[in-house]
């Protein structure tokens, strides 16, 4: 037999230039650039410009007066030093850690458990749909309603939650929901009420779209429901759950509104998150330079997380035939 033709570099014909497989451009060359150009320009104007602005002022001693009079001077990284050295910032980082663990993470876990419980143990389609819609309604509410509603519900003296717990005999006296040490927990409760539906919906839909034939194969193989859950369902839902995690994590760095409405960071800064301080210092107190330093620090942390997320997302999207 003749030797097989080998695809080596030297074997390539003269005309050949290696290039990535892509669809040919039927339209003129400028068309895609123009299509993308407008949205990109918009984002540059409303995202990149302000970020640069913030970075500039984070290096200056800008306050409200200075900003309007144009009198602010370069002070190097002392804003950053102040922020990083301040107890307020360090406390807020602890609060953030608490929020990420018991808010974001726990929400995804609870959402996953709820979604799988709903799918595996509730057999009636109608009931599933009704429960799903019920559980998702809080997500459709704006933060102002959520904040106001929970402030109302948790009012220590005559709030519905305390009253309900009293009536049920679960507590003997009112819980002071907005005291130091508890107020952040109250925010986390409200936030979980608001957002558990997101991981729930994502995981539920992920489960629905898993191929039924695989489950039939497992049934024929004789695998118990628990085994199927542990060895097949959860591994197959891995990426979907990861996406839910990432979405909730990145949201944590945008999270301000509930803090603002429910506790204003109080009492005595006990429920402040870094974002809230940036908001408070920049918007309420117009310490622009310091707020900018906060903002840039948050920006850097979230940029790291977003980058990690995008890397993961690229993998997922590629595996599904995108990009």
């Amino acid at each position: 037999m003749a030797p097989m033709r080998r695809e080596s570099d030297t074997d390539h014909p003269e005309w050949f230039q290696k290039k990535r497989k892509s669809r040919p451009l039927i339209v003129a060359r400028w068309v895609p650039i123009a299509l993308v150009g407008l949205p990109v320009a918009t984002l540059l104007a409303i995202v990149i410009y302000p970020t640069v602005w913030m970075f500039y002022h984070s290096l200056r001693d800008t306050n409200i007066q200075g900003l309007f009079m144009g009198t602010h001077s370069h002070i190097g990284f002392s804003n950053y030093a102040d922020v990083l050295g301040s107890e307020r910032f360090q406390d807020s980082l602890l609060h953030l850690a608490q929020y990420l663990t018991f808010g974001a993470c726990l929400q995804v876990i609870i959402g996953t458990v709820l979604a799988l419980t709903l799918y595996e143990f509730v057999k009636s389609n109608a009931i599933r749909t009704v429960v799903l819609i019920m559980l998702v309604i809080p997500m459709m509410l704006p933060p102002s309603i959520v904040g106001v509603l929970w402030r109302f519900l948790l009012t220590p003296s005559n709030g519905a939650v305390n009253q309900a717990l009293l009536n049920l005999g679960l507590i003997e006296q009112h819980i002071e929901w907005f005291n130091a040490g508890i107020s952040l927990w109250s925010i986390i409760i409200a936030d979980s009420w608001n957002w558990v539906a997101l991981p729930l919906l994502i995981v539920y839909s992920g489960r629905v779209s898993l191929p039924p034939a695989v489950y039939e194969a497992a049934r024929v193989d004789g695998a118990s429901q628990w085994k199927v859950m542990r060895r097949i369902t959860l591994p197959m839902l891995k990426e979907v759950i990861a996406i839910a995690f990432i979405l909730r994590f990145t949201d944590a760095f945008k999270f301000v509104d509930l803090v603002y409405i429910m506790t204003s960071g109080g009492p005595a800064q006990s429920s402040e998150l870094p974002t809230y301080i940036a908001f408070q210092r920049g918007i309420r107190e117009f310490a622009v330079g310091e707020a900018a330093a906060y903002a840039i620090i948050i920006f850097i942390i979230s940029a790291v997380i977003i980058t990690l997320f995008l890397k993961y997302m690229k993998g997922v999207m590629r595996a599904r035939g995108f990009a």
Binding site: A217, R219, V220, D221, G222, K227, I232, A319
Partner: protein, 366 residues
């Protein structure tokens, strides 16, 4: 190992006015170690039947026995049946090795034994080199082997294959057919192979069970289905190119029974047995059928005359589409035949090969 016996099995989906009778009074006997193909067009109920045998679908009425064990209402895992799925249904997050050993893992077999059996089965199916790959990385043919392996590894008493070749391309399919046949010969397991492709069914199975419209039409080997099809459906469904059918009138002369095809000047001579049976019933009308393979150029006493419309050269053979009046039919010719369209040809046949069907019930006469 055991045989499979389906007795008056029914499957009705839904209830009341919307109900669908997917499988109707189905009987099927598969003996121990036999390879039976369940053949039918899509929607004929074969998939429901197979799902009932496996236990993925409940039985509305009737019973299914494995050997003499009634398994009609057992869970799939208690039936000791294995199945290879049309879509392969491999666990995408497992390596090939883990896919193969999963049924053993479920049984709680020691890891070492699992590995040993996995290696054995991989050897048998020639997939040793891909044991560490993940299913999405594999070609269709490889995935299919893995899915066969996963079904085989548990050494089930009954082995079900659901359209396992329908996603393979022609060349691969052909070599897989031989492999599967060899596999059955080595393992001697009771196998039920579900397919809509008659070529696969005939090639593989000891016997073929033809289903249509929720009912079993005929069970038999190749020669029975070819030469004595129970009805028009079977005659049409089995064989490629499909059987030529003619609506015809019957005339009884002193000794002869002559079948004249409507809308043409063709006449057919039935075989002696058929002729006798016709005479007894004195029917006026029949559906006559003759396979294109049975019309040829080797001269015999009987022939049909028609004009060539299309002559196709197919390499190993030629195919003629001919017309007489408004009746169009086909014949297989040797490859070296060269005829131009419009030429009149004589196509010879043996009366024995003329199949006659009742025009109302479409069942075979005699």
């Amino acid at each position: 190992m055991s045989g499979v016996s389906l007795q008056k099995v029914n499957k009705i989906y839904g209830s009341g006015a919307d109900s669908v009778h997917a499988v109707q009074d189905l009987d099927l006997e598969v003996s121990d170690g036999e390879f039976v193909a369940l053949l039918g067009p899509s929607g004929c109920g074969k998939t429901s039947t197979l799902r009932m045998i496996v236990g993925l679908e409940s039985i509305t009425s009737g019973q299914i026995l494995f050997g003499d064990r009634d398994i009609s209402h057992l869970d799939p895992q208690d039936r000791n049946v294995a199945m290879a799925f049309e879509t392969y249904a491999l666990y995408p997050n497992f390596t090939v090795a883990d896919n193969l050993s999963f049924p053993l893992e479920v049984l709680g077999l020691p890891a070492e034994l699992q590995r040993k059996k996995t290696d054995e089965i991989a050897e048998l199916l020639r997939i040793t080199d891909i044991l560490q790959a993940y299913p999405p990385e594999l070609s269709g043919g490889q995935q299919q082997r893995v899915s066969l392996g996963r079904a085989l590894i548990r050494e089930p008493s009954v082995f079900i294959l659901d359209e396992v070749m329908s996603h393979l391309d022609a060349h691969l399919k052909f070599s897989m057919l031989f492999d599967l046949k060899r596999l059955h010969r080595e393992l001697r397991r009771t196998m039920i192979y579900v397919t809509h492709d008659q070529v696969e069914a005939l090639a593989l199975a000891d016997r073929v069970a033809v289903m249509s419209n929720a009912r079993m039409q005929q069970v038999g080997d190749r020669n029975t289905l070819y030469n004595r099809p129970a009805n028009v459906f079977v005659a049409d469904f089995i064989g490629e190119p499909p059987t030529n059918f003619f609506r015809a009138e019957v005339a009884y002369h002193d000794h002869d029974t002559i079948i004249s095809v409507m809308d043409s000047d063709l006449t057919l001579q039935p075989g002696t047995a058929a002729a006798t049976s016709l005479r007894e019933s004195q029917r006026k009308e029949v559906i006559a059928g003759i396979r294109p393979q049975n019309l040829g150029f080797a001269e015999t006493a009987h022939f049909l005359t028609a004009d060539v419309e299309i002559s196709e050269y197919l390499g190993e053979r030629s195919m003629l589409t001919v017309v007489n009046g408004t009746t169009r039919f086909q014949a297989i010719a040797p490859p070296d035949l060269r005829v131009n369209p419009g030429t009149s040809v004589r196509l010879y046949y043996e009366p024995l090969n003329v199949m006659l069907f009742d025009p109302e019930t479409e069942t075979l006469i005699a």
